[in-house]
């Protein structure tokens, strides 16, 4: 038998209602598919972002906050780990790479992070173009930063709304290298020598420099900065008591050029001189071996410092995310159930209109099974079409959410349709096919003659 002439006729007869059914099913499926695809994209993206950050060492505090600051570049005030506690990492035979991370400045919303040339090479896996910074006036930009080699820019203090346009440090930085895309928030970061950040905030710069430099620091701007930040964390968003006079910027510029002439910071990167080493928010450590990772972690879990594997923090974050996800999934499931119930009710009502048609078909010689398969195929076709549209719709929504997320954080998120989304849609279809037997069975059982008599 071939019930499709009847199925097609039924689809055509109530086409508006049928389109509505398909849309409802599509939206219900899309919610579930979008949620799971998005959640997985977030996991994959964040795991990738944390890939190069084997161990983080910082002052005691919230590990989540440290991760947010150093891996996701979502800055907040965190305690600094004093120089003597982290400086010895560079002599540690278990350490392959150790790099301080100093935050606090930005340029047009892009974080400026102070670190070492070694870290840049490590993070980027070799630059896309140019070279790593060799002086404190030079910077390397992430792949997503709209600056080209040769460009100059002026960092400002703070981030986002707190980033005051005319509140510049008065230092002009030159872009000398561009990193390869890493698919992490660091793609939108600008990396400079950590000494540059320290110098800007008038902190010791980690190296013994020739004496008498302090006199060069006579500019009013430098003094102001000095007062503001000497005993403060370099990453605070404190606007300070800066005088925002209109000619302030001019002064700052002049001052910067003065710096260019006879700058006292001549060395960048390790080795550092321990007694000249300021505090930093976090240090990234790449250990030489797995065993080393564990001993380093335990060695730096002290009263003064904390050490942890960011991957473990992420796992904890995923767990929370998973909890939120399962609540949302339950809600999605609930909405799907509602949709199914509504559609089923509508189809049952619709079937009353069809009962005479099927009675006529029976009188013309159609077996009961023909009636059953016609109705079942009709409902199933709606469910399958809706589920396929829902997969597409969910994918599209997840894609655009990921794109927005990537644009906002720089973290590459690739929402894709994986087995769990296919299973979700497949599960919906299977439930739909099972429920489709209900109207099919009801009409299948319907006495032919009373339907024929009825008008």
């Amino acid at each position: 038998m071939n019930p499709f002439p009847i199925v097609m006729a039924s689809l055509k007869r109530h086409w508006i209602m049928n389109i509505l059914f398909v849309l409802l099913i599509a939206v219900a499926v899309a919610i579930g598919v979008g949620l799971t695809a998005q959640e997985r994209a977030l996991r994959q993206g964040s795991a990738q972002a944390a890939d190069k950050f084997d161990i983080l060492i910082a002052a005691p505090g919230s590990q989540t906050e440290i991760v947010m600051n150093s891996i996701f570049l979502q800055h907040s005030a965190i305690n600094l780990l004093d120089g003597p506690y982290w400086g010895k990492l560079f002599d540690d035979p278990r350490v392959e790479i150790a790099a301080p991370l100093a935050f606090g400045d930005s340029w047009k919303g892009h974080s400026i992070v102070g670190s070492t040339p070694q870290f840049v090479t490590y993070l980027s896996g070799g630059l896309a173009s140019g070279h790593v910074f060799e002086t404190i006036e030079q910077a390397v930009v992430g792949a997503a930063v709209p600056l080209a080699i040769g460009d100059e820019f002026e960092p400002s203090h703070g981030h986002g709304p707190e980033e005051v346009l005319d509140h510049h440090h008065g230092a002009e930085l030159h872009v000398v290298g561009k990193m390869q895309p890493t698919g992490t928030p660091w793609d939108s970061a600008i990396i400079v020598a950590v000494e540059q950040v320290w110098d800007l905030h008038a902190l010791p710069t980690g190296h013994h420099e020739p004496a008498g430099d302090e006199h060069d620091h006579d500019g009013s701007e430098a003094h102001e900065d000095h007062e503001d930040h000497e005993h403060e964390e370099a990453n605070t968003h404190d606007d300070g008591d800066h005088d925002h006079a209109t000619d302030h910027d001019e002064d700052a510029h002049d001052h910067a050029h003065e710096h260019d002439g006879d700058h006292h910071v001549t060395r960048i990167g390790p080795p550092f001189d321990l007694d000249e080493l300021p505090g930093v928010p976090a240090i990234v450590v790449r250990p030489k071996s797995v065993a080393a990772a564990y001993t380093i972690r335990s060695d730096y879990r002290t009263d003064h410092s904390t050490a942890f594997f960011p991957a473990e923090v992420l796992v904890e974050m995923y767990r929370l995310l998973g909890n939120a996800g399962s609540v949302m999934r339950a809600m999605a499931l609930g909405s799907q159930a509602l949709v199914v119930a509504a559609i089923l009710a509508a189809i049952l009502a619709l079937m009353q209109l069809y009962r005479k048609q099927f009675a006529v078909l029976r009188a013309l010689g159609a077996p009961r099974s023909y009636v059953f398969s016609a109705i079942w195929s009709y409902v199933s076709l709606l469910v399958i079409t809706g589920a396929i549209c829902g997969l597409g719709l969910g994918w599209m929504v997840a894609q655009s959410v990921s794109r927005i997320f990537t644009a906002e954080t720089g973290m590459a998120m690739q929402a894709s349709l994986g087995s769990s989304e296919l299973m979700l849609a497949g599960g919906f279809v299977i439930i739909g096919l099972i429920l489709a037997t209900l109207p099919a069975f009801l009409l299948y059982r319907r006495p032919v003659v009373s339907a024929l008599r009825g008008s």
Binding site: M1, N2, P3, F4, P5, I6, M8, A9, S10, K12, R13, K356, Q357, V360, L361, R362, A363, L364, G365, A366, P367, R368, Y370, V448, V449, L452, R453
Partner: protein
């Protein structure tokens, strides 16, 4: 009619020479509910192959019920319905469906075509009960039937056909598998005079001499075309006569 008392006994028509009985009904009754009077009660009735039988009677007299019973759509409370030697009341549902598809062509008062498919596909609907694909012979037959009932193949919209045309398409549909029997329930009641005439003409001319037509009708034109007329009242067969007009023609 002097024969009335005689005809009130249904067995009377057995006294006539019966050459080729197609349908025999024995002690048939249909009840709805125990204490209700029977909707239909027939002692004995035989219909010959090739006969054209008109059924008339007031509303509620059981005419449609008779058609549903003899087509196997309704099971009688008692009695036998023997088609060609087979009592269809003993058949299972699947067998009954198969038998009905091959043996009976149904024509309804309100056509019951599917508006969303073409007239041709309406004629072909019974073919979809059997196989996935419709074979060429069946398709060819559908084309011929449409031609014979006077609905051009070029007409694609079923709902745009006139009512008369729609009923003729329904007749073509009933004839797709060339069934030996056509059952029609008020086939012209929803048509105007002119459309009734062509539909009646189509029904009886297409039926040919070998086909048995049993039609319920109040339409005198339809009744006049029947060789035999059964009258029912309150579920009982009260008159069974060879058509007066035909009798006159025979004389």
């Amino acid at each position: 009619m002097s024969a009335l008392s005689d005809l009130s006994m249904p067995s009377s028509n057995l006294s006539e020479p019966v050459s080729d009985v197609l349908l025999r009904i024995e002690e048939l009754s249909l009840h709805y509910g125990k204490n209700q009077p029977p909707v239909l009660q027939i002692g004995n009735l035989a219909i010959d192959r090739g006969q054209t039988v008109g059924i008339s009677g007031p509303s509620g007299s059981g005419k449609s019920s008779l058609l549903y019973l003899i087509s196997g759509l309704l099971k009688p409370s008692h009695g036998k319905i023997i088609w060609n030697g087979t009592d269809i009341t003993t058949l299972g549902e699947g067998e009954t469906d198969r038998w009905r598809r091959k043996s009976i062509g149904f024509v309804f008062q309100d056509f019951h075509l599917i508006d969303e498919v073409t007239p041709l596909d309406n004629v072909l609907i019974p073919a979809s009960f059997i196989g996935w694909r419709i074979n060429d012979a069946t398709r060819k037959r559908a084309h011929e039937l449409l031609d014979q009932v006077g609905v051009p193949l070029a007409r694609k919209s079923t709902s745009d056909l006139s009512r008369g045309e729609q009923q003729r398409v329904a007749i073509a549909r009933a004839l797709l598998f060339d069934p030996p029997v056509i059952l029609a329930d008020e086939p012209t009641a929803s048509l105007d005079d002119a459309a009734s005439k062509t539909a009646t003409e189509t029904l009886f001319s297409l039926a040919g001499s070998n086909r048995t037509i049993i039609t319920v009708s109040h339409d005198q034109d339809v009744i006049d075309r029947c060789g035999r007329v059964l009258r029912f009242d309150k579920g009982a067969l009260i008159d069974d006569s060879a058509n007066i007009k035909e009798k006159a023609e025979l004389a």
